[in-house]
C-alpha cells in the first residue's frame, strides 16, 4: 500500500500547462525526490498536494483511498506537512508563538514550549522556544518551520528546496534529521534541482521536465549524468572559463566599510574590505541575511555613506555619490529583485531601458528620445535572446529567465568597468542560467571587474576566480578558486573564524 499516489494530475494556466498527466507514488517511510529544473512544474505539483491549488484533472489517493484536498487545513488533517522554500514566519514574535499560530487549537504556551523542546531534542533541531524570530539565522528558521510541521505528527513531510538556504554542514545535519524521520515511518517528499543531494538521501525519484514526468527511477540504478540529461533533455551546457589577464584600470575597492543596520531586522556591516580588479570575477558566498543586501545597496548607490573613500571605483571615492553618479563613473548593478527594483512593473521594456541608460545619450534637452530607446531595447532583446513581444512588451509579461536576460543585457550594454550582481541566476532554468554565467565571465575577460553575491556555492565555484565569505556583516579575505576547500568555505559561512559580536546569521 502506498501512502500517497497521484494519477494523471494536470493543471493548466492561461499561458502554460504547468502539470501534464503526472503520476507518482510515495511509500510509507521512504524519501522520494521530485527533480526538475526551475519551471518544470514542481512547485505547482506541491501546491496541488498541499491543497493550495486544485488540479484540473487527475486524482489523489491517500492510503489507497481517493481524496479531495481542498485547502491546506484539509491536507494537514490528512497528515501532510509542508516546509516552504520561502518561510511563512512572523519576525516580531517568538518561536513558540509562531508555531502556535499554525495550530488550530486552544493551547497553553508553556505546554507548547515543552513539546517544542521535546521534538527539538529528539531530532536534533535545536531551537529555543522563547527567542524572537528575527534573531534567528535562516537555518534556525527552517528548523522552526520543520518543528511546526512535526508537532502535528505528519505522515508525509514535503520539503521545497530546503537546502538552498543552508551551509554545507547544515545540509548534512538536515539529512540526518530526515533519515531519522523516515526510519520512524514518516514519508518525505523532497523537491530539488540539486542532483548530488538526491543521490545522498533519496530512495526514489520522479524527474519532471516541462510539466511532464520523464521517468521514475531509483538513484542507485543510475548516474548523475543520466539524471541531468533527463532533467534538461539535452547535454548540460558547460561554461568556458580560461584564466584572464588583470586589467588594472578597472577596479572596485571596498576599504574598511562599516555601516549600521537600517532597522533591527537588518545587519550591520563591520569593517569590510575587498578589492576586485578588472579581468577577474570575485564571488561573495554566504547564507543570505548576513549583510549582503546592505552591502550591495552601499555599493550600488542606493544607500550613501559619509566616508567617501569607503567605496572606490577606479580610484575615485564614491560612497557619497548616488546611483546615477556612480553609473556615470562606469558602475553597473544587477540587483536580486528583478521586478520591482531591477525593472519597474507596469512599464514596458523600452521604459525600463531608460532606468539605467538615461545618462547615455537618451535625453535630449529634457525630452526622452523614444525612437533611440526603442532601438537600443531591441538591440538588447536581440543580443541576449530575450523572448518577448518586443520593446513595447510589459516587464511583468516576461518570464523570470527572460526578464533577467533583459536586465543583464541592459547593464552589459552600458559597457561598465565595474559590474556588481546579486543572485544572478536565482529561479532560472538551466539554459538561461548558463547563458548569464557565461556572459559574466565574458565581461570580466573583456577587462571589467565583476563582483557576484550568490547563495549558491556551486555557482560561485563555477565562475569565480576568487571567493570571499560574508558572515554577520563581516567579510573574510578572498581565497583563490583553485585551492578552495568546500568544507573550509562551509565553516566560514557558519561563522568559524569570524569575531562573534552582533547578530549571527550562519548556523
Amino acid at each position: 500500500m502506498s501512502l500517497l499516489e497521484l494519477r494523471g494530475i494536470t493543471k493548466r494556466y492561461p499561458a502554460v500547462v504547468a502539470n501534464d498527466d503526472i503520476s507518482l507514488k510515495v511509500e510509507a517511510g521512504k524519501i522520494h525526490a521530485v527533480l526538475g529544473e526551475n519551471g518544470a512544474g514542481k512547485s505547482t505539483l506541491m501546491k496541488i498536494i498541499y491543497g493550495a491549488t486544485a488540479a484540473d484533472e487527475g486524482q489523489i489517493f491517500w492510503c489507497d483511498n481517493p481524496v479531495r484536498i481542498n485547502n491546506p487545513a484539509a491536507a494537514r488533517q490528512l497528515g501532510i506537512g509542508m516546509v516552504y522554500q520561502h518561510f511563512s514566519l512572523f519576525e516580531s514574535i517568538t518561536v513558540a508563538e509562531n508555531i502556535a499560530v499554525a495550530l488550530n487549537q486552544k493551547l497553553n504556551l508553556e505546554t507548547l514550549s515543552s513539546e517544542i523542546n521535546l521534538i527539538s531534542k529528539k531530532y536534533d533541531l535545536l531551537v529555543e522556544p522563547d527567542r524572537l524570530l528575527y534573531h534567528l539565522s535562516v537555518g534556525e528558521r527552517q528548523r522552526v518551520e520543520i518543528i511546526r510541521c512535526l508537532i502535528q505528527n505528519p505522515k508525509l513531510l514535503i520539503l521545497d528546496e530546503p537546502t538552498s538556504v543552508l551551509t554545507p554542514q547544515a545540509v548534512q545535519g538536515l539529512f540526518v534529521t530526515l533519515k531519522q524521520l523516515a526510519s520512524e515511518g514518516c514519508s518525505i517528499l523532497y523537491i530539488s534541482h540539486k542532483l548530488e543531494e538526491v543521490f545522498q538521501i533519496c530512495d526514489s525519484a520522479t524527474v519532471l521536465r516541462g510539466g511532464k514526468v520523464v521517468d521514475s527511477i531509483l538513484p542507485s540504478a543510475t548516474t548523475i549524468g543520466e539524471l541531468a540529461h533527463m532533467m534538461i533533455g539535452a547535454q548540460p551546457p558547460t561554461t568556458h572559463r580560461q584564466r584572464g589577464n588583470i586589467n588594472p584600470s578597472s577596479k572596485l575597492e571596498i576599504c574598511h566599510l562599516s555601516a549600521p543596520a537600517e532597522d533591527h531586522f537588518g545587519s550591520d556591516i563591520r569593517d569590510t574590505s575587498l578589492t576586485v580588479q578588472g579581468g577577474e570575477i570575485i564571488g561573495i558566498a554566504g547564507v543570505s541575511g548576513n549583510g549582503q543586501a546592505e552591502l550591495f545597496r552601499l555599493l550600488s548607490g542606493e544607500n550613501l555613506h559619509s566616508e567617501p573613500d569607503a567605496v572606490r571605483i577606479n580610484d575615485v571615492g564614491v560612497s557619497h555619490l548616488n546611483a546615477n553618479e556612480r553609473r556615470r563613473l562606469g558602475l553597473a548593478c544587477i540587483p536580486e529583485e528583478r521586478l520591482g527594483r531591477g525593472a519597474a512593473a507596469g512599464f514596458n521594456l523600452r521604459d525600463n531601458l531608460c532606468l539605467t541608460h538615461h545618462g547615455k545619450n537618451l535625453v535630449h534637452y529634457g525630452f526622452i528620445k523614444h525612437k533611440e530607446a526603442d532601438k537600443r531595447a531591441a538591440q538588447v532583446i536581440d543580443r541576449f535572446s530575450v523572448q518577448c513581444d518586443g520593446p513595447g512588451a510589459a516587464a511583468q509579461s516576461l518570464s523570470g529567465g527572460n526578464l533577467q536576460r533583459f536586465i543583464v543585457g541592459r547593464e552589459i550594454e552600458l559597457n561598465p568597468t565595474v559590474l556588481i550582481v546579486s543572485q544572478p541566476t536565482w529561479g532560472l532554468d538551466v539554459a538561461a542560467a548558463a547563458f548569464i554565467r557565461q556572459t559574466l565571465i565574458d565581461l570580466s575577460r573583456a577587462g571589467s571587474a565583476v563582483l557576484v553575491f550568490s547563495e549558491e556555492l556551486e555557482e560561485l565555484l563555477e565562475i569565480c576566480d576568487q571567493i570571499a565569505v560574508m558572515y554577520a556583516g563581516q567579510m573574510s579575505p578572498p581565497m583563490p578558486r583553485s585551492g578552495a576547500d568546500i568544507e573550509q568555505i562551509g565553516l566560514l559561512m557558519a561563522g568559524e573564524g569570524f569575531s562573534t559580536q552582533a547578530t549571527p546569521q550562519g548556523d
Binding site: E337, G340, R341, A344, A345, I368, H370
Partner: protein, 320 residues
C-alpha cells in the same frame, strides 16, 4: 433613483446631459466651469503620478487669486496693457509658494502632505475672508464683504459678448499641450512616474525622490494658482469670500477620471462640468432639490471610477 423620487427618469437625464449643450450659452457655461477643473486637474495629475497627494488645490487657487487680485486692486483705475500678464505670473507664483510649504515640510521632516495641504486650505480661505472683510473691502460696496470690481484691463474679456467664457480658455489649452509633453515625453515626467509607481526601481535608477516631491507640489500649486487667478479675473471680476465652488477638490476627481493622463483630464473636466451644469438646470427646470443633483453627480462619478477598477479586477463570491 429619479424614478423613486417622483421624477421622470428620461426627462431628468435629458435635462442633465442634453440641455446644457443645447444652446450656445449652455456650451459656454460648460466650458467656463471646465476650464479651472481641467487646469487644476492637469497640475494635480502630474503630482499624483509621483505619489504626491496634493489635496490643497483649493487653498492654492485662493492664494493665487489673492495675489492676482492684489495687483488688480493696486492698479486701480489705471490702464496698463500688461496688467493681466503680471496677474497671470503672480497667480501662478502665489499658488506655487503656497504649495512649497508642504513640499518643504515633506522633504525635510517627512510630514504627510495630505494633512498639510488640507489644513492650509482653511488657512487660505480664512485669509481671503479676512482681506475682503477688512483691508481690501470696497469702500463703495455698501459694506458687503467684497473688493472693488477690477478694471477691465485687469481682466480676461469674454470671448463673445453675452457669454462668460473668456480668453483664459487658451491658457488651458496651452497648459494641456505642455502637460502632455511633460507627461509623455519629458525625462522629468518619466522620473516622477517611476518614483511614484515603482519607488525601489526609482532608487535603483538614481532618480531623486525629493525632486519629484517638489515638482509634484509646485506644478499642482502653480496650476491651481493660475486657475484661481482666471476665476477672479474672469467671471467674478472681484474678490469675494467664496471664489470657488470647490474646484480644488473636484479637480482631484477629474484627475482620476482622466486616469492621470492630460487628454483624459480634459475629457474628465468636461464631463464633470457638464454634470454640474446639468444639476443647475435640473434645479431650475424640474424643481429638483440641489442636493439631489449632487447625489446624482456623486453616484455617477462613483460608478465611473468603479468601472475603472473592474477593468482590472473581477469580483468573485467566495464561500468558506
Amino acid at each position: 433613483m429619479f424614478y423613486v423620487l417622483g421624477f421622470k427618469p428620461l426627462d431628468t437625464l435629458r435635462v442633465f446631459f442634453i440641455h446644457p449643450l443645447s444652446s450656445a450659452y449652455g456650451i459656454s457655461e460648460v466650458l467656463l466651469k471646465a476650464c479651472p477643473l481641467v487646469l487644476i486637474g492637469l497640475g494635480l495629475a502630474i503630482g499624483f503620478r509621483a505619489n504626491v497627494w496634493n489635496i490643497g488645490a483649493e487653498g492654492q487657487l485662493t492664494i493665487g487669486a489673492i495675489c492676482a487680485g492684489g495687483i488688480a486692486l493696486a492698479i486701480g483705475e489705471q490702464n496698463f496693457a500688461f496688467t493681466v500678464f503680471v496677474m497671470v505670473i503672480l497667480g501662478a507664483l502665489g499658488g506655487m509658494a503656497w504649495a512649497s510649504i508642504p513640499a518643504f515640510l515633506k522633504v525635510r521632516f517627512n510630514t504627510n502632505e495630505i494633512l498639510v495641504t488640507l489644513m492650509l486650505n482653511y488657512v487660505a480661505i480664512l485669509l481671503l475672508s479676512y482681506l475682503v472683510h477688512g483691508p481690501w473691502r470696497d469702500p463703495f460696496g455698501f459694506n458687503f464683504p467684497q473688493t472693488a470690481l477690477f478694471h477691465p484691463s485687469a481682466m480676461f474679456s469674454p470671448l463673445y459678448p453675452g457669454f462668460r467664457v473668456t480668453g483664459s480658455i487658451f491658457m488651458v489649452i496651452g497648459a494641456t499641450i505642455i502637460a502632455w509633453g511633460v507627461v509623455t515625453r519629458s525625462f522629468l515626467g518619466f522620473q516622477m512616474t517611476i518614483v511614484g509607481k515603482a519607488p525601489k526601481a526609482g532608487r535603483f535608477a538614481g532618480y531623486r525622490e525629493n525632486q519629484a516631491i517638489w515638482l509634484g507640489l509646485l506644478i499642482g500649486g502653480g496650476a491651481a494658482g493660475l486657475a484661481g487667478m482666471a476665476e477672479v479675473a474672469g467671471p467674478l471680476g472681484q474678490l469675494l469670500p467664496t471664489i470657488s465652488p470647490g474646484y480644488g477638490y473636484t479637480a482631484i476627481i477629474v484627475a482620476f477620471l482622466g486616469r492621470l493622463h492630460p487628454v483624459g483630464v480634459v475629457f474628465g473636466g468636461l464631463l464633470v462640468s457638464l454634470i454640474a451644469n446639468g444639476g443647475e438646470s435640473a434645479q431650475m427646470q424640474l424643481g429638483m432639490h440641489s442636493s439631489l443633483a449632487q447625489i446624482f453627480q456623486g453616484m455617477l462619478l462613483f460608478f465611473v471610477l468603479a468601472a475603472d477598477v473592474l477593468v482590472f479586477y473581477k469580483l468573485k463570491l467566495v464561500t468558506r
